[in-house]
């Protein structure tokens, strides 16, 4: 990549074309009532075929993608207050464990069957485990289901998964650095220690930080938030705790009024860079192996859709919800999305085929889930017609 210098005009032209293509995809997604994430992936894959980003443009896109990953996690942390996290951990532990057992395992098993390295199997487990909270909340908002009885359970499952991911990401990041067993153990200890400490600090001193950050001017608030997120992410990366988790913890620590304001300010930035992140993933993907992974991805989609469905069904049943609501809860949880891709990105060097497999898998689940969620009526009639087991 080095050595290729292009004029500023060309640079802007290339980046502008990429972003315009994304806007087009986003518009199309809105029209057919889907989240744009899967379409961004497709856009990236197509772009990789027709155009070749070079030099400055390529480095801009790859740094932009990293920032996108960080902002995704930051906004996720911002989404929940520490209070909500604690309450949820206490109240919904059992359904969370069921979810983990049912949806992490298929990914790991599939990895073993495909002959992946052990760590790549664990990564694939993460890919199949995480429901996309972004897609879920979009589906719930679009279909006006926030008031439904099963909705708290659906959201609770998402929250617990996100907490589990906050633990999972630094562990995987530490293990992926590799080295001897001792070095890996050392990295793991450092990662967990730093994570535990900063999680504790975020819960304990979040209020102080929030008060300090709450500058009156929106401009100052935006700059100080963005700066803090990047700095903490950088620090986390230097001590091998995964930059994204640093950002997540900053998000958790900010609460109250400042969190509300930051959410509004950072959202456009997140949208921009997250789009770049998904495109970059598509661009970097080894497209040649895509046909080979279609069948495994399809099988994985079928199996993990059923396992997610069981989680939703069971959770809703516990909340006293009837058949139709249970079905809604089950299918709403099917889509995987942004964080599955984030996890697959970690393993790009280890097992290149993980990327295409995840992309195909995310595409399938992200389309299947929202479509099924729309047709809860016919589905429940179909279920009710069958004789009770």
């Amino acid at each position: 990549m080095e050595g290729v210098t292009i004029s500023l005009g060309q640079l802007f032209l290339q980046i502008g074309t990429v972003i315009l293509a994304l806007a087009l995809m986003g518009r199309f997604a809105g029209r057919i009532g889907l989240t744009p994430i899967p379409l961004y992936l497709i856009a990236g894959i197509l772009m990789g075929q027709v155009m070749h980003l070079e030099g400055d443009a390529a480095s801009f896109v790859s740094v932009g993608a990293e920032i996108g990953a960080i902002l995704l996690l930051f906004m996720l942390g911002l989404e929940y207050t520490s209070r909500e996290l604690e309450d949820n951990l206490r109240a919904n532990r059992r359904i969370g464990l069921l979810d983990l057992a049912l949806n992490f395992t298929p990914g790991v098993l599939a990895g073993l069957l495909l002959g992946f390295a052990p760590l790549a199997c664990v990564l694939l487990g993460g890919v199949t485990y995480l429901t996309s909270s972004g897609i879920v909340s979009k589906v719930l908002a679009d279909l006006g289901r926030f008031g439904n009885r099963e909705t708290p359970v659906v959201l609770a499952v998402c929250v617990l998964e996100d907490v589990a991911m906050a633990f999972y990401l630094p562990v995987m990041a530490a293990l992926l650095i590799g080295g001897t067993a001792w070095q890996m153990g050392g990295n793991l200890l450092v990662a967990l220690g730093a994570f535990g400490l900063s999680f504790f600090m975020a819960l304990r001193y979040g209020e102080v930080l929030s008060r300090l950050m709450n500058a009156l001017s929106a401009e100052v608030l935006l700059l100080s938030t963005f700066g803090l997120v990047l700095a903490v992410a950088g620090l986390a990366d230097i001590i091998n705790v995964s930059a994204a988790i640093g950002a997540f913890l900053v998000g958790i620590a900010l609460s109250g009024e400042v969190a509300e304001r930051v959410r509004v300010l950072v959202e456009p930035l997140r949208d921009l860079f997250a789009a770049v992140f998904f495109v970059f993933f598509g661009l970097e993907m080894d497209v040649a192996s895509l046909p080979d992974v279609l069948v495994p991805a399809l099988l994985l989609t079928l199996v993990t859709s059923v396992t997610k469905f069981i989680v939703g069904w069971h959770g809703a049943a516990q909340a006293g919800v009837q058949t139709r609501g249970r079905i809604r809860a089950g299918v709403t949880l099917i889509p995987r999305g942004e964080f599955s891709i984030l996890i697959a990105g970690l393993g790009a060097a280890l097992t290149p085929v993980l990327g295409p497999l995840t992309a195909a898998y995310v595409l399938m689940t992200a389309i299947l889930g929202p479509v099924l969620a729309r047709f809860d009526g016919p589905l429940s009639r179909w279920v009710d017609r069958r004789p009770p087991a």
Binding site: E84, D87, N88, N148, L155
Partner: protein, 164 residues
Amino acid sequence: MPRIEETALPGVGRRFDFDAEYGKRVGVITHRDGKREVFVASREDPDACGQAIVLTSEEAKAVADMLGGSTVTRQVTTLTKEVKGLALDWITLEDGSPFQGRPLGATMLRTHTGASIVAIVRQEKAIPAPGPEETLLQGDVLVVVGTPSGVLRAGNFLNGKPAL
């Protein structure tokens, strides 16, 4: 008063709902960005929202005004949330209170407890900023503002119970 159930919707806000007398579940979702969503459950599927309307916070205030009453409460409750060390309570003048039938000034509440009566609610009607000559009746709900301990003392004092 219907029994209102409150449920947390992590990442979204809170949901308040109750089973309305006409047979369906009715509720309000307070989104964290200030939007309010009013919904009513559907008849064939009581778990689901049949209809929902989303109101901006301004519109929600207007609707609350049209329905009557509750805006005062909401504004006052947000006040207590924002100001630390300030408490507000609704104290019902029970039967047997020493101040039943006596003017408000006779309680000398501020002298005794540091808390003030800022409004009286009598049979769904509010008397804001009552004067000292206002006669207190049994069943009056007194809106008392003060420090948290002052308000607590006021509750005991007004109903003739020993101070803590």
